[in-house]
Structure formats: structure tokens, C-alpha cells
């Protein structure tokens, strides 16, 4: 379903009501429920949430990479086609070529039994029909672009012979070989040192700018969001809690969960006592309680919050959220 917004002409990916349900021995578990957004060309969308919030599952579902016991509903429109309904053959053409994905831990995400050269040239050979020599040259160029020194020698090494940061660069180079329109990055910096994180994020931003590529960045780190994203979706227990532009989100979060997340970030510029945290734990997805999933932990939950799921609605300021408590009634936010 295409949204008839004025930005339609520049949107690359339209996701509508994406739902992922797993059939487990304990019954069906809704890992993702009702994810909806439009991804704009050249922009970065950040999806933030705790572990188990469904952020990784949603992007895996988009590319059809979930196991067979997952049931996916809704629509993911790319170039006028719903990816969720495409036959495998056509979906495989989109994957790697028009939409690419990089994963969290490059050590396990790269095949330890094949050389980097092999893993890169095969993408070009398959999607672009390149001959071996040409593919190798293109791969070397890609490695140079991600600033791998001495690429000509390194390309014939195995992944375990690279450092963590370089491995992630290799993954990025590999993903960008065919010039995709959308890059999905699933926690690309989580497994890396902090200093390397900054380098990788900067690299991603510059590559994105060069190619006018759209990016979806999954992370649990608000710092990464602040640095790299244009728009943000906050997820909790598989549902969207808030969707806003990055500045709007950090200036004035309009959902108690987002406020809790931001409040939990330690500050160096203020003297504080103990570290804050949101009380309680994320819900057990096998036993879904009625009402807003965040209600048990929300300091402002009312009776309605425990019984009725709040609808995800647009706000006058352009953001959108799912909460019963009126924005005006939310406790004053001190940024």
C-alpha cells in the first residue's frame, strides 16, 4: 500500500503494517506487530530498541531471511512490488543487488572457509555476470573505497586474518558492490571498539552521501542514532512506540519509553547521583498482556493503558507515537 504523501516520489521503500509471528512450542509469538514507515532516498532511518524488541526480526523479514516457521504479514513495497509476496527467484535478484544487508558480528557473518576475494567476486559474477578478472578489479576498487590498506594483497586472505574493524569494512564493501538503493545495517558497530565504531559510522555516512543511498540502521545505542540518523523509530515488544525526526526526538521525546531511554543515558555535563534505569524488564513475548506493552513499567500508566492498546497516530509536529497519555500531560522534559 503506497502512502499518498507528497514525498512519495522520493521514497525508496514503503513498509506497511509489517508483522512477524513465530510458531513456537509455547504457542505463537508476535515478534513484530504493525511496523510502518517510508524510507526516503539518501536518508538514514534508525530503529532503536532493547534486545527482543523485534528490530532485527523486522529487517530480516523484509529480505525474506527468517526461518520457515516464521509467518510474515503486511507489505514491504520496493519499486512497486511487495517483497513479501515475491517468489524466491525474484527476491534473490533484489537481495544483494538492489537491497543489501550488513550484520552485527563480521567474524561470524563472513565465511571463514573462503577467501575475501572469493566472497566478493561471487557477488559480481552472479548479479552482474562479470568475468573473473573484471570482478576482481571491481572488488579491489571497493576495498580501496572503504580504506583497506594494501588491498591487493589482503584480498586473498581469509576473514580471520583481518582485525575486527577491517572485517566490518570488508562487509560494507561487499554489500555495496552492486550499488544498492537500500543498505540495511543490523547493529554494525556493536561488536567493535568505541574508536572503531566512530570510524565505521563516518565511513557509512560518506559512502551514503556519495551514492545517495537510503539506509536503515538498527541499533540499541542512542549515541549512534544521534550521530548518524535522520529519522528514528523507537520499538518496544515488537511495536512502534514513537517515530520522529532525530532532532525532534532528542529535543522533545513524546513517549514515556523514549523519555526513559534518554533519561537512562549517563551525562557528563551534570552531576547526578545514581544511574537511572527504567524499572522492570521487557515482557515475556509468549504471554502477551492486554493494553500497551510498556504499561507495566510506565510511571504514567493509567487504567486505559493496561486494557487498550494505543493506536499509532501522527502528531501535529510531524512525529508519530502510540500512547494514551496526552503529550501535554507528559511530565516536563528537561533536555
Amino acid at each position: 500500500m503506497m502512502h499518498s504523501t507528497p514525498d512519495n516520489a522520493r521514497s525508496v521503500l514503503n513498509v506497511s503494517d509489517l508483522c512477524v509471528t513465530f510458531d513456537t512450542p509455547d504457542g505463537p509469538v508476535a515478534a513484530v506487530d504493525g511496523l510502518t514507515f517510508d524510507l526516503m532516498r539518501g536518508k538514514t532511518l534508525g530503529i532503536v530498541g532493547e534486545s527482543g524488541s523485534g528490530k532485527s526480526q523486522s529487517v530480516l523479514a523484509m529480505l525474506g531471511l527468517l526461518p520457515a516457521y516464521a509467518r510474515v504479514g503486511g507489505s514491504v513495497c520496493f519499486e512497486g512490488r511487495n517483497l513479501l509476496r515475491l517468489p524466491q527467484a525474484q527476491l534473490a535478484e533484489v537481495r544483494g543487488r538492489r537491497m543489501a544487508m550488513i550484520f552485527q558480528d563480521p567474524m561470524t557473518a563472513l565465511n571463514p572457509y573462503l577467501t575475501v576475494a572469493r566472497q566478493m567476486t561471487e557477488v559480481l559474477a552472479h548479479h552482474r555476470g562479470m568475468a573473473h578478472g573484471e570482478a576482481r578489479r571491481a572488488s579491489l576498487a571497493a576495498l580501496d573505497r572503504v580504506q583497506i590498506p594494501d588491498a591487493a594483497r589482503r584480498i586473498d586472505l581469509y576473514p580471520h586474518e583481518f582485525s575486527g574493524g577491517m572485517r566490518q569494512r570488508v562487509m560494507i564493501a561487499m554489500a555495496l558492490l552492486c550499488g544498492p538503493d537500500v543498505l540495511i545495517a543490523d547493529e554494525p558497530t556493536t561488536a567493535l571498539d568505541v574508536t572503531v565504531q566512530a570510524q565505521i559510522l563516518a565511513l557509512l555516512r560518506s559512502l551514503q552521501k556519495d551514492d545517495a543511498m537510503a539506509m536503515i540502521l538498527i541499533t540499541h545505542d542512542l549515541g549512534v542514532v544521534a550521530e548518524s540518523c535522520d529519522d528514528v523509530i523507537v520499538m518496544y515488544a515488537g511495536r512502534m512506540m514513537e517515530r520522529a525526526g532525530v532532532y525532534g526526538l532528542f529535543d522533545g521525546p513524546s513517549h514515556p519509553y523514549t523519555r526513559g531511554l534518554l533519561g537512562a543515558v549517563p551525562r557528563l555535563d551534570r552531576a547526578e547521583g545514581a544511574l537511572h534505569s527504567i524499572p522492570g524488564v521487557p515482557p515475556d513475548m509468549r504471554r502477551v498482556a492486554p493494553g500497551c506493552p510498556f504499561a507495566p513499567r510506565c510511571g504514567q500508566a493509567g487504567d486505559r493503558c493496561l486494557t487498550h492498546v494505543p493506536a499509532f497516530e501522527a502528531q501535529p509536529d510531524g512525529a508519530a507515537r502510540a500512547c494514551h497519555v496526552a503529550t501535554a500531560d507528559l511530565v516536563r522534559w528537561a533536555a
Partner: protein, 301 residues
């Protein structure tokens, strides 16, 4: 300013406590998983029936295993005359002989497996716990034994020293304990460096307590699984030796012996081969399925 105050909440939080999940011990978990394997459960039942039949059967059958009946030579199986699996060339009832042979085969299996398990666990646990050079040396011995073609040595030893029942069990045991030793050593090594063992050690729990409370219960899982795997292996070894004429001696008989005798006359009287062969194959197959089920129950992937 606390978060609660910032969010305007001065009353105790309305945090709803999620309903408690009923606790399940690892043993109950394992039993539940085991029950989900139909093939393993069925195998267990069949094995129990087989055990019962071999132990009690020979007393209940109308014919004894060694009574010769010159009027009933080499009869094919039939319901009417009570010889359900037929008779051999001396008129002896095949079913009775098979069940009696089963006693020997199962006993060798049980004894051999018990001995191999004890030896393997002792060796492996010691090596794993002591570590270092002693561990290396002990595992070198295991590696050596792996490289030796066991049947040749078995043939040699039995030919030299005669076909004594306990010697046969000994020889088989000598080459069956290595798998268990390796597995137990691996487990012990892993357990020894687990955090909770280190923690116990740091608090000052005596070593013996650590072994008994932390290491042994965790070893039970693998030991049970691999014992179930060793038994068919031992039975198979005994049968091979018997088939080659190097197993138990008359008047004792085992499935291996019966199969060999049956193979010699199978053109004329195939039931002499097929009866014991079916029993042995069924037992081995059930043993394997049971082992698979147990392995999944205790260590699901």
C-alpha cells in the same frame, strides 16, 4: 533527581509482576524432551520387552533350548507344534535357543558396557581434572588405542588364551572405553573452568565438595547418553567375535554364534539365520534410536 520523580510518580510503581513461570529442573526438561521422540520411546519399550523375553522367556516356552527332538528335525516356523521359529538340524527349538543366546548377548553387553563406562569415566575425569602433563599423557594412551585395529588384537589374544567368557568381555571392554574417556575428559575440562566452579573455589568450598556437587551431576548427562551408545557397540563386538568362531563356547550360545550357524545352512533352512538375525538387528536398532533420543534430551541443539 530520581527518574520516578522526574516522571512525576511519587507513589510506589504500579509495576505489574508477571505471573511466575513454573520452575522445571534440568532432569524434568530432559525427560520432557525425551518423551517427544516417539522413536526413542518406542525403542525403549521394545528393549524392555526384549529384556524380559530373554530373561524369563526360556522358562515359559514349551521347549528347552538344548533338548533335541529327533522327530522334529529342521522344521520351518509354524504355530501348531509350538516351534514358532522352527527347529534346527538336531531338533532344537530355534526360538528357545535365540532367547537363551539373547541372555548371553545382553549380559555381555551389560557387563562390557558397565566396565567400559567405569573405566572411561574414571580415566576421563581424572585426566580432565588434573590437567596439564598428566592429562596429555593419559590422552596419548587413548589416542594410541584408537589407532590399533582392535579386531586383529582380539583375534590374537583369544586364539592364544582360549575362548573364556570373561576374557571375551575383557577384550571387548579394553577397546570400548575410549569414547567415554574422551567425552568425560572434555566435559570435565569445560566444567572445571566454568565460572560457578571458579566461584565455589574462590569462596573456599573444599575440592571434594566441588567435585561431588558441581561436576558429577553435570557429568551424569553425558555418561547416561554414552552408556546407551556403548551397549550396542559391545554387543556388536561380541557378535562379530562369535561369528568368526572366537566368541563364547558351547554349551553357551549367543546371537553371533547362532547367526554363524544359521549362515552355514541358510540355503536349506533360512529361518535358522533369520530368527537370531532379526532379534540382534532389532536390539541394535532400538539401542541406537534410544541413544539418539537420550542425546537430544540431554543436549538439544
Amino acid at each position: 533527581m530520581s527518574l520516578h520523580a522526574a516522571l512525576g510518580d511519587t507513589a510506589p510503581t504500579q509495576t505489574r509482576v508477571p505471573p511466575a513461570v513454573a520452575g522445571r529442573s534440568p532432569l524434568q526438561d530432559a525427560w520432557r524432551r525425551f518423551l517427544r521422540h516417539r522413536s526413542a520411546v518406542v525403542s525403549l519399550c521394545i528393549l524392555l520387552v526384549m529384556l524380559l523375553a530373554c530373561v524369563v522367556g526360556p522358562w515359559l516356552l514349551p521347549h528347552r533350548f538344548d533338548t533335541t527332538d529327533w522327530d522334529a528335525l529342521s522344521l520351518p516356523p509354524s504355530w501348531s507344534n509350538g516351534h514358532w521359529l522352527g527347529t534346527d538340524e538336531l531338533g532344537r527349538d530355534v526360538l528357545a535357543r535365540t532367547l537363551t543366546g539373547g541372555r548371553v548377548s545382553l549380559m555381555v553387553g551389560a557387563l562390557g558396557a558397565a566396565a567400559a563406562t567405569l573405566l572411561g569415566v574414571a580415566w576421563g575425569a581424572t585426566a580432565g581434572f588434573l590437567g596439564g602433563r598428566i592429562d596429555n599423557a593419559m590422552m596419548r594412551v587413548v589416542d594410541m588405542l584408537y589407532a590399533i585395529p582392535y579386531l586383529l588384537i582380539a583375534i590374537l589374544v583369544i586364539t592364544l588364551f582360549g575362548r573364556d567368557f570373561y576374557l571375551v568381555v575383557l577384550v571387548i571392554t579394553a577397546f570400548s572405553w575410549m569414547d567415554m574417556a574422551r567425552i568425560v575428559r572434555g566435559q570435565t575440562l569445560a566444567l572445571r573452568s566454568r565460572e560457578y566452579v571458579e566461584a565455589a573455589h574462590a569462596i573456599g568450598v573444599p575440592t571434594r565438595r566441588i567435585i561431588l556437587r558441581h561436576i558429577v551431576p553435570n557429568l551424569l548427562g553425558v555418561v547416561v547418553v554414552y552408556t546407551a551408545v556403548i551397549v550396542p557397540g559391545v554387543m556388536l563386538s561380541e557378535s562379530v567375535l562369535s561369528f568368526l568362531g572366537l566368541g563364547v563356547q558351547e554349551p553357551m550360545t549367543s546371537w553371533g554364534v547362532l547367526i554363524q550357524e544359521g549362515a552355514n545352512v541358510m540355503e536349506a533352512t533360512p529361518w535358522l539365520l533369520l530368527g537370531p538375525a532379526a532379534f540382534l538387528s532389532l536390539t541394535l536398532m532400538c539401542g541406537n534410536y534410544l541413544g539418539d533420543g537420550l542425546r537430544d534430551a540431554f543436549d538439544p541443539r
